[in-house]
Symmetry: D2
Subunit: 331 residues, 4 copies
């Protein structure tokens, strides 16, 4: 039974708490948060204990920590937890600074402790089924990947200002998805972005609509479309053209009811946002972590994967600013 400390007690931590409790091989031993009352509330709900982060990391009876705190604390906590001998599952992104993330990786690597980065979408049953079909050779050799990823509504501009920008904050999930599907990182990244959803986002130095094209060493191409606003819900689709066919992972819908009237044929919208869409993915992610910790197998998503996604975000940010392609090896 894996004894788990949950660092952070915000909304996403609540989702993780369900997954930790539901897995018959893990138990929620302790919860911490910057605001102790949040930790207490979550701990009470799951019969766990609210403690300080330092306490949890220092407690040798805790086997693993799940880091769900704010991004600026991730690197420090990964270092501290691995040095304290714990397995770590850390929410994405590793860090907003590529240099800091790389330094963190060196520290963690020295400890030999397993670190997994929480790119939950790899565990979505739809994207997972697409990957399985690809690996089974069902569409031959992959050639052209297209990822569509639209949020239902932009976050507050205050959040945007500290987010690291659309490429590091939002598209980073899609960068990781592209690596997951294509099996490697691209050679070159070319970005176009603009702030047409909300000019205040532009005034804050960020974009809200972006297209990134990436080319791979063997000539394959991937393109990612992002928008901060799709009023119909959370639009999360992946489409891969191969030498022998096309695979498409489409949206999950709120329900399957279709209404036909004189006005047309209307079905339900996509599930609204990431909690609804990726709830099964968060569970599967945690289960995969527990299984890897127990078996000693490599983590299904490594710290290196997190750093690769961050480097792609960095390259895209530069490309959008300069208007020229950026080689991944140059960031």
């Amino acid at each position: 039974m894996l004894k788990v400390g949950l660092l952070g007690a915000g909304r996403i931590a609540g989702v993780h708490a369900i997954a930790i409790s539901s897995n018959t091989g893990s138990t929620l031993a302790a919860v911490s948060d910057y605001f102790p009352e949040n930790a207490e509330k979550l701990a009470a709900q799951y019969g766990s204990a609210a403690r300080s982060t330092e306490d949890i990391i220092a407690d040798d009876s805790i086997d693993a920590v799940l880091i769900a705190t704010s991004t600026d604390t991730h690197s420090d906590l990964i270092e501290a937890a691995t040095q304290a001998g714990k397995a770590v599952l850390c929410e994405k992104p590793v860090d907003l600074s590529l240099d800091r993330a790389r330094a963190c990786q060196k520290v963690a690597d020295k400890t030999g402790k397993p670190v997994m980065i929480g790119f939950n979408r790899r565990f979505d049953p739809n994207f997972g089924a697409l990957k399985v079909a690809l690996k089974a050779g069902e569409i031959g050799k992959p050639e052209l990947l297209a990822i569509t990823s639209f949020d239902p509504a932009p976050p507050p501009v205050e959040y945007i200002k500290v987010s690291g920008g659309l490429f590091r904050d939002m598209m980073i999930h899609d960068f990781d998805m592209s690596s997951f599907i294509m099996g490697e990182a691209p050679v070159s990244v070319m970005a176009a972005g603009s702030s047409i959803v909300d000019p205040e986002i532009g005034a804050a130095g960020d974009v809200d609509t972006a297209v990134v094209t990436m080319t791979y060493a063997d000539g394959r191409i991937a393109v990612i479309k992002n928008s901060r606003r799709a009023v119909y819900g959370y639009d999360q689709r992946v489409e891969l053209l191969g030498s022998e066919g096309l695979l498409q992972a489409q949206n999950m819908l709120e329900n399957t009811v279709v209404k036909s009237t004189a006005d047309g044929v209307t079905g339900a919208k996509p599930t609204y946002f990431f909690l609804e869409r990726y709830m099964p993915a968060y569970s599967a992610e945690w289960n995969a972590f527990v299984e890897a910790v127990n078996s000693g197998a490599p983590m299904p998503v490594t710290l290196a994967d997190g750093i690769t996604a961050l480097a792609m975000a960095e390259a895209a940010t530069r490309s959008a600013q300069t208007g020229s392609p950026v080689r991944l090896e140059d960031v």
Copy 2:
């Protein structure tokens, strides 16, 4: 906090145990089973106690029981539990004998204790959304209802022999669904059935493929199609034509991946069987029961509803045997 005794520890009881535990207003206080070791196993998993059925019913600290035992025990247990002052959620069908079920209702009614029958499909998010749209007037006045309900594979003939037959065992869900959608019971029931899936089912006196047409007092019509075998999965669809449109609740699929190759465009199959398809419905059903018990509101599915469905099954059974329509008031 509702203290719940779970009578029965089989497969469907396991599903109910999850729902009872997940609801913040109920707790799994005790489990019983004909085979005590089954009860012990399930109790251990949820930190509950394995006890005898008699014990549970006699325990005044238990507020409610969920009856998930074999059908032939339902009436007795409903009577015993309500007489012991407990709220009851009982799996369908109430009984295979319409007379016995009616007698049971009299006993239960005298106690004044709430009894809910587990027609879980009323709580399926898709059928629920259809009902909401209907009540909102989105397709005007309902006129013609069609229910398609196919199992993936027939049960063993040994089960069929004690099942009460397709109309009482399988189509009873669809009878209840028709009442749920149409808002009342039909006047007349006309059935056609045959055993073309498996002649052994016919030899056992049952049918495996059936179509039942029902007419309502105001001229509305409903038709139900049942088959014991749809090799592609659990096919569960409802379609309602109204004066201003059509509503269709379609199947839920295993995933959203679509593959296009030289052989065609292929998507995932429907979820395989009732546990996969109706897992969210079982949770919603339990939540509705707890809410009604706590608020004192009428049960969302009553014992009378269970008896109506049973009467429809009885009428369909006779109609299939005689080849003539049977009026519901005659059974």
Copy 3:
């Protein structure tokens, strides 16, 4: 080059004129109509000649006639045309009177001339593809057929009064479709009908909403749903469950555009009515007729097929009136 006389110059005759002209093996030699000016107008459009029906039938240079006149003239014209040595394609139904149709068949059979009945839906590319898949064994042995056939709006009550009733006028297409798919006629027909769309239809002695269940000698079952009103368009679907799968021929849509907004995901409606939906079928029907005439092969839809459909309509009419099943051999 088949020289064709078109008897009737109404709306459906216009559709046939296109098909006759487009086929490189047939030419529109003459047109007649009860109102000569209609014939003249249609003839002018296609560089043909307006003549009297008698004239056309008497003209030995005319190889074939297409009968698109009112139903009450069909039997007489089939007899006259075959006796004059012509091949005949006659619009459905053969006749409203089963006796008259049977007498007509005897006359036509004596001439040895080929007669085809215009059940155009057999030539719809979607239903055709379903039949091809069935014959290829793609779903094993057929077991349960369901046909949904809704008109967008009821015809005027004046039309209904002379139509022969829903079963002979509207469902007759679906009866023929069932024979086309199942490969034989049913043993027994059981109908439920009511007039809930428009009480005036009921006052005229007809129904506007009906469900017919048919059973076959080997236990297979078919069910047909009809409504005179589906406000969203012409709803024409066929669904066949077999031992190894399900085949569904779905509606054709006006276009493929899908709109996702805060209100839901909306697509186009089905094509509005039979001219839009079955335009390709009318062409394919004519082409099949020409090919059969030229090759001497049996007609793809025979006069006997037309009489079988009529007998099924007769049986359904009686069943709806008496509330009891009617055996086809009894009509």
Copy 4:
């Protein structure tokens, strides 16, 4: 009645001949071809006359010519036909040389004769319905356009060598579609291309897989994906995200039959290639040309539109070669 000369008698000319004949306001007066026997064959089929191109252009009784000859003759024939006083519908592209096309436009403009370029996809009922919904404000302000356009199989390398390359030969349709939807040309074009479908295409100096991102003056973005090979058929989709929703024009399918078996749920493939998919578009294109000629209204697709698409292709070609964005004003 518009008297039309058809220049060219190849496969696409055959499609145009049907459209010219079907329109009640135009007649196919003459046909020419580089190989006179081709012209004779097509003329015979439609009761027309085979003549030389020079003859047709010199014939004052011919009102309009449809140019369906090889691309290298387009500019010369547009000039000659307009100078001879004829209205012109010319297949795309205007020319492979942007300079030559611009010179041609000057000559044609001086004659004042109407010239329409055959971007048939603007007349596809699906893309047309998308445009109508956009103009009606159904998704608010357009922000992000994505066009997917895959051919079923690459043409012979010999064709590729004289085609002008993927951007001028294939993507030019998509460039025009983007202008049709967005209502203006982009400011900047950024292309990535590679030859992963067939290395021989790369050896011939062309790409077979490409992604082009375009940015507009107001910040809007469009992205086009092209592949020379989609083994499942002709993949032609347009998707537009706006401030209030998403519009998607999806593929047309060969039929509507869906098969569900133990292997999954399989539907028909997209229509195979442009003749099947765009047959209705070719008719609608011709009808729009005739209507504009008769009414004196501006051509629905102008020579300037053709030159804009060519300039976008030129910019994309340069961008793919240099790896940098190219401003449209620089080509």
